[in-house]
Symmetry: C2
Subunit: 279 residues, 2 copies
């Protein structure tokens, strides 16, 4: 009975409620200035932007509005990456033909325009997002420039898909955009095939995703060594050699926050809810 947009909002809420998700804010853990309730307000605030993605309007504008609504709380960036991942998924799920598949989501990516790229850059004006420096020779495309990057985007004729392609190597969400959403759809199948309460399934999917691949948000904010360590230790949890709760406490304490893995978990939850996962 829930609409596509309601499932997207619920996915964001279920993601932050899954525990333990080592290093993340979860049902049992807060960071100092970024707390559980900020994610609740972020999810609620994102709704009206997400609902624009179900129509024919520009994807970039829907995303920007979702980010603007998300940012209406005091914690700062809660779900920027998750919303970026959800945007093409929501669009695919709500298209006339309703094709929530790797092909359908990739189609939404390929239809993005230069205008969508401009709106994506504008979204960075609503909230502080941790990002890498732009690639060599692309200073005029620094997302820190926000709307000021519009002329450079237009001059180079870069669509939002092109922009994602430029950062796919260093950003796990961008990699999904241009790589067929493999990890998102795979993790959705894990969620559907798992048993027990949905937040527990989300916690397990998060650990598998983290064990599989280094988190790009950790790499950006705490360095590649920390990212490698988080992945190695998530594997140790899956092997039974480490305790997930203790690892969660330690990573939160050290400020090692696998935010991209959380984004992928939110995307996977959305796909699973759309495919019938019952809460």
């Amino acid at each position: 009975m829930r609409s596509v947009v309601e499932n997207a909002v619920l996915a964001l809420l279920l993601e932050v409620s899954g525990t333990p998700k080592p290093g993340n804010v979860d049902r049992h853990r807060d960071h100092t200035d970024l707390r559980f309730e900020h994610f609740l307000a972020g999810a609620v605030g994102a709704r009206s932007g997400l609902s624009r993605l179900t129509g024919d309007g520009p994807l970039g504008e829907g995303f920007e509005r979702a980010v603007e609504g998300m940012a209406d709380q005091r914690g700062g960036n809660t779900q920027f990456g998750a919303l970026l991942l959800l945007a093409p998924l929501v669009r695919a799920a709500s298209a006339d033909e309703g094709d929530l598949s790797p092909a359908g989501a990739t189609d939404a990516v390929e239809r993005t325009t230069v205008g969508d790229a401009v709106a994506f850059y504008r979204a960075f004006e609503h909230v502080d997002v941790a990002v890498d420096d732009p690639p060599e020779g692309l200073d005029d495309l620094d997302v820190g420039r926000g709307a000021d990057a519009a002329p450079a985007l237009r001059e180079r004729g870069l669509t939002l898909a092109d922009v994602m392609d430029l950062s796919a190597e260093s950003d796990g969400v961008a990699a999904e955009w241009v790589g067929g959403f493999d990890r998102t759809f795979e993790a959705a199948e894990w969620l559907l095939g798992d048993e027990g309460p949905v937040p527990d399934r989300a916690s397990r999917a998060f650990l598998r995703l983290l064990a599989d691949e280094a988190d790009t948000f950790v790499a950006k904010t705490a360095g590649p060594e920390a990212a490698g360590e988080a992945t190695r230790r998530a594997r140790a949890v899956l092997d039974g050699a480490e305790d997930a709760e203790a690892l969660a406490d330690e990573l939160v304490e050290r400020g090692i926050n696998p935010g991209t893995t959380a984004d992928l978990t939110a995307g996977a939850l959305f796909v699973a809810l759309e495919r019938g996962l019952a809460v």
Copy 2:
């Protein structure tokens, strides 16, 4: 920036996240078959019904739709009472003049019709709600009859306000409807005057409400003695003689769930958010 409906949904989410709220599902506690994520899904599912309350449509129908959406999860009744309390508050907040005050909410109550009463009865068909037997001689108004009670409601010409009046003595939400929403607005002022994270404020407001007055949901489901005990022990917490966390564990263990006090807390959170409480 959040709309009235978004604040109503956020109020439901913040309510269930406040901890400790002795006896309730909260951020740190679940009941056996009624878990945190059911409240998340209940809040998200209620949204489209709540949004009907912002227009000119019948209040009863908006409430019924909110309950129907809320019930789209496996936990059963999560927020029936909270939605009943929110209905006139949301209507008052979104009226043209936007009068979210005891007078504005009471005006919404007084405008209810027999049709609203019929819709209220229909709402019981969507979810199992713990209720008392109907008053002596009013068997044809048993809410367990659902839509079948419509002829009796029409014959007696009972509006939804009249129905609330009949159960005001045994139901704390009905008492708010016909008593000017005193406790709701008072607790909203506590929330606004308090300090710290909003879920912590919600926990404190819940304890004060419970200490002030016996919970009618506990009285219905566990008996008046249990309701008296819960209130006495909430007072002991406020006096520093009992530990709130230990009391919360014990009451959940014993199945003593002050659900009406949670409903009032949700209503108060909504009023406080509308009055500028920042998350």
